[in-house]
């Protein structure tokens, strides 16, 4: 056990390196991290998967598939052991309809991620320009 085995624990535990969701899969839930960390990676066809982000306690992932039926865009795996709770798509969509402030929280989190992505794109473009590629 990675965490205190004497105490009851909620959610599901994943050992270090274990895959929680896999790129390309169709799924109907998102996950909230109760304890530990996860690594988000994308397989770009190279030998090593492309590292995208590390998420920790209170963060959620897999939310994009709730709003579309498209496959998962990244693989998420446990980093040193993690405990997560899944949130079902059907329930969540019902609660979002009842509870605008919950929608707001999820949207704010997604906005934060878009901001981060934009700043990373800008940074990459600058580097490409410096190297005369763009």
């Amino acid at each position: 056990m990675l965490f205190d085995s004497e105490k009851p624990s909620l959610g599901r535990e994943y050992a270090d390196g274990e895959v929680i969701l896999r790129e390309g899969e169709i799924s109907d839930c998102m996950y909230v991290i109760l304890e530990g960390r996860v690594e988000v990676v994308v397989d770009d066809g190279g030998l090593q998967p492309f590292h995208l982000a590390v998420l920790g306690k209170d963060d959620f992932f897999g939310e994009m598939s709730l709003f579309s039926d498209l496959p998962r865009v990244a693989t998420v795996r446990s980093l040193g052991g993690v405990r997560v709770m899944s949130v079902d798509k059907r329930g969540l969509l019902r609660w979002l309809g009842d509870d605008p402030s919950l929608s707001m929280r999820i949207m704010l989190k997604m906005v934060d991620r878009i901001r981060l992505l934009i700043s990373e794109v800008v940074c990459l473009r600058k580097k490409l320009r410096e190297h005369g590629i763009v």
């Binding site: 009851p8 624990s9 909620l10 998102m30 909230v32 709770m85 899944s86 329930g91 009842d98 999820i106």
Partner: protein, 455 residues
């Protein structure tokens, strides 16, 4: 009539409905640039064991509430958890069947509302924490002021704003037993059904009448952690038995304790004694174990019918004293209604009309769903006496549990009934699915055929 920065709000009662109403109100107001001054009046000390610190409840956090809180970013700390529940075992006079969720995950928690049963204080320090104390901490963490005093009277000032008068404390006695405390822009009543708080709001004279109530019987039975897990596992045990006066009973593992809840019409000590002596229940108790003569127990009032007009200008009631879910997920109902109330107050205003348009529809929706719940339990009460149907139901559940690809409609309907994961409307839709009805019909006919009883 709207909340603006500097507006004062009084929340009477610090159980889940009160603490969450205060928390969500401050949080939502802040998101719209409004800073409120919120006072929460709760004299009870949740860090005490026994009735002094307990808000009388079975203490189970439903699967849907757990997921909702996780999505909201509210992660319950481990010290609150007494146990994590992974399955339900349904016991009837015709046998027992385990109902497991399709997912392989612990999403239901058992907790103590206060610091635990009377006598638990001998374990020092206590290995768990109070759920209500944690929620109160969430509220004070966002700036809510906790006033640990009892409210004696409510009235309105000449401009119609609610006024709070406190009960004079020892050393403050004078000719007047009450102490004027303050005038507020909004008064939120989260007084439950088990104290004198309901009367305070009835006396305000705006037409509020509390919901119809019944009694539950809740006891904390000490068996020791080893016995609790050997006997109950991580499962909540539900009993649908032919015991007069009982609708259903539940035994929930909680560390060294098992919480025993009996629901029915007019449950009293005599019904509780009959239920405790039922063979189906006794077989889960350790051999030779006798129910303590005086376990830490209570007979709380529970909400079984809609309230009348739980709002007025600048006043609204939330939680058990207004609308809750029938026989299940009371904490989840308080969470939902606290949020709707806060959202209404921040976005629509605090007039009676604002609450009628924003808050009351959510109450009505839950009350209408509860009416379906009443129907469901009435049907169960009728069918309980028809043993072949009961055996057929158990046979269908058994068959669903062993088929990996089966959608497990009946098991899901029962799972949702007892976990509080879904509305009674959805449960009805699942239970009345043609496939379920067909399977039940076939299984019942099989039971009626001579010599074809399932085991």
């Amino acid at each position: 009539m709207e909340l603006t920065s500097g507006a004062r709000v009084a929340v009477i009662g610090g159980g889940p409905a009160g603490a969450l109403s205060a928390y969500f109100l401050v949080d939502l107001a802040r998101q719209t640039g409004i800073e409120l001054q919120v006072d929460l009046f709760e004299p009870r000390e949740f860090t005490l064991t026994g009735p002094a610190g307990c808000n009388m409840c079975g203490g189970v956090i439903s699967e849907s509430l757990m997921q909702k809180m996780a999505a909201e970013g509210i992660i319950l700390p481990k010290e609150l958890l007494l146990d994590a529940i992974d399955s339900y075992v349904l016991h009837t006079d015709s046998g027992a069947e385990a109902i497991r969720p399709i997912h392989d995950e612990m999403r239901i928690a058992s907790i103590f509302r206060g610091a635990g049963p009377l006598g638990a204080e001998s374990q020092h320090p206590l290995p768990w924490s109070s759920f209500d104390h944690y929620l109160l901490g969430m509220a004070t963490g966002v700036g809510v002021r906790h006033i640990p005093r009892r409210v004696r009277r409510l009235d309105r000032d000449p401009e119609g704003r609610p006024r709070v008068h406190l009960q004079a404390a020892r050393g403050e006695e004078s000719a007047d037993p009450e102490l004027p405390f303050g005038v507020y822009d909004l008064l939120i009543g989260c007084v439950g059904l088990n104290g004198s708080g309901v009367r305070l709001f009835e006396e305000l004279g705006f037409g509020y009448r509390p919901p119809k109530t019944d009694r539950a019987w809740v006891a904390e039975l000490y068996m020791g952690a080893e016995e609790v897990h050997r006997r109950l596992g991580h499962a909540m045990h539900i009993f649908l038995l032919n015991v007069p006066g009982m609708k259903f009973a539940a035994l929930t593992p909680k560390g060294h304790y098992a919480t025993f809840i009996i629901l029915g019409e007019g449950v009293n000590e005599e019904v509780a004694r009959r239920v405790c002596h039922s063979p189906r229940i006794r077989e889960l108790f350790p051999e030779g174990w006798e129910t303590p003569v005086r376990p830490c127990h209570c007979q709380p009032r529970i909400n079984i019918g809609p309230p009348h007009r739980p709002f007025a200008d600048r006043v609204v009631l939330v939680g058990d004293c207004a609308t809750s879910r029938l026989y299940k997920d009371g904490i989840g109902a308080a969470y939902r209604m606290a949020k709707v109330c806060a959202y209404t107050a921040v976005t629509r205003g605090i007039s009676a009309e604002a609450f009628r348009q924003g808050y009351w529809p959510a109450c009505e929706e839950m009350d209408q769903d509860n009416a379906l719940g009443h129907l469901l339990f009435s049907m169960d009460g009728l069918l309980r006496h028809f043993a072949p149907f009961r055996r057929a139901m158990m046979a269908v559940i058994r068959a669903e549990q062993v088929r990996p690809a089966d959608p497990r409609r009946l098991s899901s309907a029962l799972w949702d009934t007892f976990t509080g994961s879904a509305s009674y409307r959805l449960i009805f839709r699942r239970a009345l699915h043609p496939v379920v009805l067909f399977r039940l019909l076939v299984a019942t006919l099989r039971e009626l055929l001579p010599g074809r009883r399932s085991h």
